[in-house]
Subunit: 715 residues, 2 copies
């Protein structure tokens, strides 16, 4: 296919379709009603007429928000979209990876294989209802004979090896399953853990329908001609998520020996379609765009990419499904962080696509062409960060069945940003702020909390904690005497008295949450998690930690961004966050310095957050060691003169605190993953708690020599 100038008819369609598509999506998302059904019906007729007959390559991308294991909910959504596509007379509709089961199912399908049986029942029922519009539906395919007890299935000879399931796509049409595509490349790193449950297939493209439930056999090995599937006169190459991500020209270090896209492209399909559940992370949009553009250009083939939307616990998927033409140009793109029925046509070869070219989150478009460098102070990601956090909060509450949130509102930066996110995600009527001052809480903090609550239109209540912490203190007073010196005297460095304030606050929130069916939300940020500057069962406790992957400097930048870009209202004509909240030094407000009489700030206790955040970035993005960090020049040092001794001391503090913080990561609530190169979220990073004896600065040859020449000595 070559690039062509669109005919006037298509030019007209290019203008009209986005408007129709917007109406269609509004109708699909509205609560069902008679009026709604009529609108949908009229709209569908108009669009169908404009698009013309089947066989022209018009298709839909069903960018849906699934929940793992919610077969009825996912299937209903899939069926709604299929029926719509059928009514529109489209050639096909493609859904994201594992759309029926919901991605990622994690280990649930291993422990509860009945769910896989159930997903086959739903799949077959959906297949029966398909007509001329083909549907590409992701599902979990068992690799062994199915039945009541998968384990006792008769074993074929030679024995089939491998995990029990394929991560698969069924091609449904004309009332039946027409073929099956199986994921080849099984990502197992960072937030991906496919290899725990899924076996990768060795062959790209389509397996016949009668292969369902049977593993690849060695006899299948040369079936290249069968790699494509013909749908209404066009042959498509179909692949699943990671299969797209192994190009040897694009990646410096490809992860897999085999490249399924190369296999498909060699068959010269009309287009390659990829069904994904690809998480969004900072700087990933750039890589995704460049990869898709590279592949379509490299093979001179249109590329269609349909991506899941929605958040599953810690992992966010951003949608933004898209089409690239054979010249590598982006011709259509769905919305980010929103469900969408997207009408496209990859075969027209247009420079401007059909239907939507939805904008990326604010600021992100500029990064697509930016050089691939790292920058600790990058602010172009704040729009995506905001939308990603909103989706994460919204989906966590909706999918766990809660509407209301509450949090401690201290007047500090983290809780202020968190409450704005909660109000925007859940509605201000569903958010309760609780001010829980102690004797040392400054009036200005309480006033800031009230101003913010007023700006947002949320309810704020106050519960002083002085009496509570006093009774704890009273309860413990007699203990040294009862212990009778048995364990010596109390640790002078104990921070028990500070922590009890944080825990008392979390306890009040949890009780209120119990009483009003609301989830308490943790406010700890990424810098605090790295530094262990968070109280177990206290401020880091809650149902969700929205800022747990946002470093403090980025929280502050996000606060400024909110004041600038969040829509102003009558209530908040000047920006929602009081300036004092953004500018005042961060601190836990847990103790007073006896010499100054002032509250001790976090940076006094630890180090400047700007410096700490650069360490985090250098560890995660550049994998730099403590030794390297000591010798490289920090961006921080450009603006702040830094004595090498001070730098070394801060580095020691950082690594020492990080090693002890690992326990806190282990018991942290879900953290919404935001950053590009790492996080401490449990779905993303695993670090043994007992790995506490790592010598972060490494060992010198002399130290190694000393240990090995005195092996019998005590450690």
């Amino acid at each position: 296919m070559t690039r062509s100038t669109p005919s006037p008819q298509w030019q007209n369609l290019q203008t009209q379709l986005p408007l129709w598509e917007a109406q269609l999506n509004t109708a699909l998302q509205a609560p069902p009603s008679q009026a709604h059904a009529a609108t949908l019906s009229d709209l569908t007729k108009s669009i169908r007429q404009a698009l013309g007959d089947r066989g022209q390559g018009f298709m839909a991308l069903g960018q849906i928000n699934t929940s793992p294991g919610d077969l009825a909910g996912n299937a209903r959504q899939i069926m709604t979209y299929i029926d719509t596509a059928e009514a529109l007379g489209l050639d096909l509709i493609a859904f994201p990876e594992l759309a029926l089961m919901g991605y990622p199912p994690r280990d649930v399908i291993g422990r509860h294989p009945f769910l896989v049986e159930e997903n086959l029942k739903w799949l077959q029922a959906i297949a029966k209802r398909t007509g001329q519009t083909y549907a590409l539906v992701g599902f979990v395919e068992p690799r062994y004979q199915t039945g009541d007890d998968i384990k006792s299935a008769t074993t074929p000879s030679p024995k089939t090896t491998g995990k029990a399931y394929y991560n698969a796509v069924a091609i449904l049409g004309n009332g039946q399953i027409q073929g099956i595509v199986r994921k080849n490349l099984i990502p197992t790193y960072a937030e991906f853990e496919d290899a725990r449950q899924f076996e990768g297939a060795h062959q790209a493209g389509v397996f016949p329908a009668n292969a369902l439930g049977k593993p690849e056999s060695p006899n299948d090995s040369n079936r290249a001609a069968a790699n494509l599937i013909d749908i209404h006169g066009h042959r498509y190459g179909i692949s699943i998520c990671e299969d797209l991500w192994n190009d040897a020209d694009f990646f410096e270090k490809p992860l897999y020996a085999h490249d399924p896209i190369a296999t498909l492209a060699a068959q010269r399909p009309a287009a390659i379609i990829n069904l994904s559940a690809s998480p969004t992370r900072s700087r990933k949009e750039q890589m995704k765009h460049n990869l898709c553009s590279h592949l379509s250009r490299k093979y001179s083939l249109p590329l269609v990419y349909v991506n899941q939307v929605g958040t599953v616990d810690e992992i966010a998927f951003d949608g933004a499904s898209r089409v690239y033409n054979a010249q590598g140009e982006l011709t259509a793109r769905g919305k980010s962080f929103e469900e969408q029925f997207l009408i496209i046509n990859p075969l027209l070869g247009l420079v401007l696509g059909l239907g939507t070219m939805a904008p990326l989150p604010l600021g992100l478009e500029a990064t697509l062409s930016a050089p691939k460098t790292f920058n600790a102070y990058d602010t172009s990601d704040l729009g995506r960060t905001y939308e990603c956090l909103l989706q994460g909060i919204r989906d966590y509450f909706r999918k766990t069945g809660f509407q209301r949130a509450l949090l401690g509102l201290s007047g500090g930066l983290d809780s202020a940003v968190t409450v704005v996110l909660l109000a925007d995600a859940l509605g201000p009527e569903n958010v309760l702020g609780v001010s829980m001052p102690s004797e040392i809480t400054p009036d200005s903090s309480r006033q800031d909390a009230q101003t913010l609550a007023d700006n947002l239109g949320i309810t704020l209540v106050e519960i002083p904690i002085g009496q509570i912490t006093q009774t704890f203190s009273d309860g413990l007073q007699t203990i040294p005497q009862k212990l009778n010196g048995h364990w010596g005297t109390q640790d002078a460095r104990s921070n028990a008295a500070d922590n009890v304030q944080a825990i008392s606050r979390a306890t009040l929130l949890r009780q209120l949450g119990n009483e009003y069916r609301a989830l308490p939300v943790a406010t700890s940020d990424k810098s605090e998690f790295y530094l262990g500057y968070a109280t177990v069962n206290g401020d880091m406790s809650g149902a969700l930690a929205p800022l747990g992957d946002v470093p403090k400097t980025k929280v502050r930048a996000l606060a400024r961004w909110l004041n600038e870009h969040r829509p102003l209202t009558v209530k908040t004509p000047k920006g929602v966050l009081p300036e004092s909240v953004i500018t005042k030094p961060s601190g836990a407000d847990l103790k007073v310095d006896p010499t100054t009489g002032q509250l001790v700030t976090a940076e006094q206790e630890l180090m400047p957050y700007e410096f700490a955040d650069e360490i985090i970035w250098r560890i995660e993005a550049l994998q730099q060691s403590q030794t390297t960090l000591h010798s490289v020049r920090f961006q921080y040092e450009e603006n702040h003169p830094l004595d090498p001794t001070q730098k070394a001391a801060w580095l020691d503090t950082f690594f020492g605190r990080m090693a002890r913080a690992v326990f806190k990561w282990f018991v942290a609530p879900p953290i919404l993953i935001i950053e590009g190169n790492g996080s401490i979220a449990k779905s993303d990073y695993h670090h043994p708690i007992v790995a506490g004896r790592i010598q972060w600065a490494g060992h010198t040859p002399a130290e190694i020599e000393h240990v090995l020449s005195n092996p019998f000595s005590s450690p």
Copy 2:
């Protein structure tokens, strides 16, 4: 080699060696001193003389307890053992998988690649110090050129693909690295996650030393002759952990297409040596023994298996390194749950081995020949459970740098069993019991706690919590008024008032822990975790949850076992646990039934634990669904008549509570993994929190039909 009758000289050695070996291990474990060095020297000379010259196949298994990332500590231990083996004139010494880095390193080596550089430095320094005794030392081998920045290494052409590291073994001897063995099979399921960081090699056996740091090349593909390594005249086949576990005759469903042991065995080595870090789980000892016996018999080859000992967070390794002769008979076995320097000779083909034949934990030997059936009421595992829990506690405290523990001692079963474990693991002087009665705590419970503390010789202090919970209640009292009906009235089913008791107790423990550098320990058991019958930030909170994988009925059985098998002392002449603790109904002692005036028991609120535990067992071991559970006859039903309606109601309660409990699993402290077929420990099982809409009973065809024929309706 054929089975031979040992000569009188060997018979003598068989008698003498176990005694020497015991002395040797005592000396190796004692704190270093002049006297100790002299003993060791004398002993070594005697043993060396008895064993005779090198080249006879005498070797040591270095069953050590490593810590992930503790290169200096692990290297010191390795060097001590190598020096001892050299002094004894042994042919070789084999250490467990990844002995130098410590297994499992998890993602730490990905985020901090300097640790891999460091492990190479240590490896090379150890190599230099080796003499005629060869050492097999597990280490992390980078697959790309090493240097300051692994990422920027020049990429070879064609591109090398795959993960950055091999899980490898270096064969060290005569001052250098003699060869490298790379793990072929990369386990990624349950507690294993090797595929996140490690690439599997395709070739079994030994790579030349100059291959270090370079990935397999396609040109290596036919190097079968190089699969073995010659050490003092004997050719050995060396493999790593999972490489042993893929026999197509033994396993109904082998996980991998390739069997490295078959490759090695085809070269007819003198013996196969496997370096493992193989976790212990209920019923696994049976499988391990049968597999090793099967393989050595199948190939008529001696099999040497060296296994790591010690616990890493949730995962316990039990040692029990061993030798099987070519007839599949066990001829030597190291201790379980203890470090050991084990002298063996797999080449003698003796029926009785040399050195140790250490017993398995009490009761476990009988299971080796038991039929492979499941039994929910199996008690043969209690000895192993006890030792596994002790090791888990001891290692968690030692490796995180703590000596002291404290816990709430309620007089209930879970805290009673936990405190015995703590006292046995850490010493009674390091354990503090805290009784924290509320107004509804019965005097009998307080008395039981005191009796138990006296029996154990631990300190018990009392802190009533009535005032604390009262101030919380006071603090909240004004809230409904302040909320002004905004969120309606309080949820009548709220258990806030119950939970605050549990949280207040945990808070007191945490404060005391802070003040005395002691770790608070959680007491929740596996049944409670499954049923969500545990309070977040309350009883399920702590540094460690020792009983988190022990179901309630097994806790009770363990309590009886403790009274029977724990050594009696002057203080506890009759069994440490008061009978009333074992027999009284379990409950959280958090509320009183207003109609009876009695404390509400857990079984009244939930269901009989015997029934719940059988559900857990059937889910984990048999993967039975709710529908299947409803139709199968429970063992519970043999003894208790059960109405189908009641059974259905309990099943509904169980699955409903389980789905909501997933959040609690996510924020639980480390749980010591004990059971064989599953747990809810985070290292073992991943379940999305938002997978809350799973229809555990499945859908009928009519339900499916209804949803799909009304797709546009609201869910």
